[in-house]
Amino acid sequence: MIWLNVIIQGILLGGFYALFACGLSLMFGVLKVINLAHGDMAVVAAYVAVFLTPHLHIPELWSFLVVVPIFGVIGYIGQRTLIQKSIDRDPFTTLLVTFGLSVVIENLLLEAYTANGQTVTIGTLITKSWHPTSIIYISYLSLMVLAVAVGVLALLQLFLSRTGTGRLIRAVADDREAAQLSGANYRHIFGIAAAIACATVALAGIAYGMMTQFEPTSGGVNLLFAFEAVVIGGIGSLWGTLVGGIALGVAQQFGAHFNPQYQVLAGNVLFLLVLAVRPQGLFGKRTALA
């Protein structure tokens, strides 16, 4: 029964990792850009939720209604300016530029809001949970985050397969030159993909801020978890990302069960094992492999 609880907690945690990772997966799948500032942008979204929403007189729980659209717009503009400029140079430059952004964002947050921990206040929801037995407890918040993750992935899947814009995004992702020859404006398509990715990042960042304390440097470790989820699940597969996130979450919970010190380590070990044994991941194509 204890192990069942460990697995359930792992699945719940995995939902959060999948939500965090789907933006990273989309950015790589379409733009072929690894955004090293991914985690820091999520942290910025959480800071915006904490420091902006009191001025708007809405509960912080609903702050995502404001923050997510803002981040979508930021994503589009950021892509059309800075990121497109670096893509035009080479993939190497996108890494340097997004890493530069990551360090600058972290230190700006440090200067503006100090290193103190913050949380997105959600009242009593944080303590509410469901106890089917005496050992198993399921926090409503974690369940909601998992549901949001599954919902976002399903919507994204529907959007990519059923809408005209979605088909354009897949066309550009598969073969940019051919899509361009057919009249697709790939820069605009890239912008839309980046906008969606940024919107999911904002959602993940706010969820993170609700679940735990965050500080300016929280972005890095979350980028690592998102990245591990993507690689374990298989690069280029949206549902693979969910499975990867869950596998990572379960591994971390198993590690934490033995010793809290082992939580992150167990996840890293699973990642390195997958890399050694099945480098294309559980559901992946062999695109990102050397």
């Binding site: 790589f28 072929k32 850009v33 690894i34 090293l36 800075l82 400029k85 670096s86 140079r89 993939p91 190497f92 430059t93 996108t94 890494l95 340097l96 530029v97 890493f99 530069g100 952004l101 360090v103 600058v104 230190n107 700006l108 440090l110 200067e111 890095g220 470790v221 980028l223 690592l224 990245f227 591990e228 690689v231 690069i235 010190q261 082992y262 992150v264 380590l265 890293n268 070990v269 990642f271 390195l272 890399l275 050694a276 480098p279 990102a288 492999l289 050397a290």
Partner: protein, 348 residues
Amino acid sequence: MSQSIEGALDRHGLITVRRSTHSPIYTLVGAVILVVLLSAAPWMVPAQVASTLMNFFILVIMATMWNLLAGYAGMVSIGQQAFVGLGAYATLYLALKGMNPFVTVPFAALSCAVLAYPVTYLLFRLRGGYFSIATWVVADTAMLIIGTIAVLGGGTGRLMPGLQNLSPSETAHYSYLATWIVALVVVVGTYYLLRSRLGLVLASIRDNEVAARSAGANVRSARRIVFIIAAAGCGAAGAVLAISQPFIQPTNEFNLQWAAEMLFVSMIGGLGTIEGPIVGSIIFFVLQQTLQQEGAWYLIIFGTFATVIALWQPQGLWGAFRDRFHTELLPVGHWVDRTDGSVKVPKN
């Protein structure tokens, strides 16, 4: 190697090929003066200045290694702090076993090289940005594992033994000299490495990887060698870091900030040149010393500057200077002249 290139091109009698844009004797004289001055520095300058110089050398070592990785072999590692940390902890471990901390430095570098070898087989399965984040995972894993080892101080850290029987000024002088010697070995070693056959392969990968492959260069093995050398160099930097700041702590030795500094310094100075990381380190220290009362602002300004450079001036400051004035201090390539001397085309 240079002999054969010059011979091959010279046969046509139209062009001449030279290593250097000016007589190498000037560089040699300048280098000797610099080495003598910097070796004598701890006895001539205030302790504060010597300690700043020491941190400067550590940054030069790391940036030179990072530049080999990214500037020549095209590998953007954001996990080099793994080897800085492992080098520091190798020194701590050997010192705990009773070895003189100053003697441990080459052993720390060697153990990092040995550890890096199997790691390449994992990391080289990923490319581009996935390789980058995977290096970070490796660094994170190394930090977490070290943090569980109680004899090395666990997560809270431990004081380096073996330095307490020296007087403070002796410690300061010796650790300055150790750092300076490591920096000198790393920079001079890189210079000769880049003039060797491997250096030619690396320059060809830097300029055009596909062309290098089709000309028969073994790109993967060249990358592996560079990764191992960079691990050893960063390990040596970690070892001298552990001696100069003798309280060893996982979060400090394995700090991502090392990777950030190596990257920014190399980019600003100029990737793919030996002088670039040194120029970048000088700019970094001037900025850091000027803004040291202002908290994290030096990193914000430096990071923004590096991003701007990456977008608009990717050869970096030294690269721009070299292209404008056709000059190199440490020539590793070849300059091709028409025999009438009218046009100069830099060629590596």
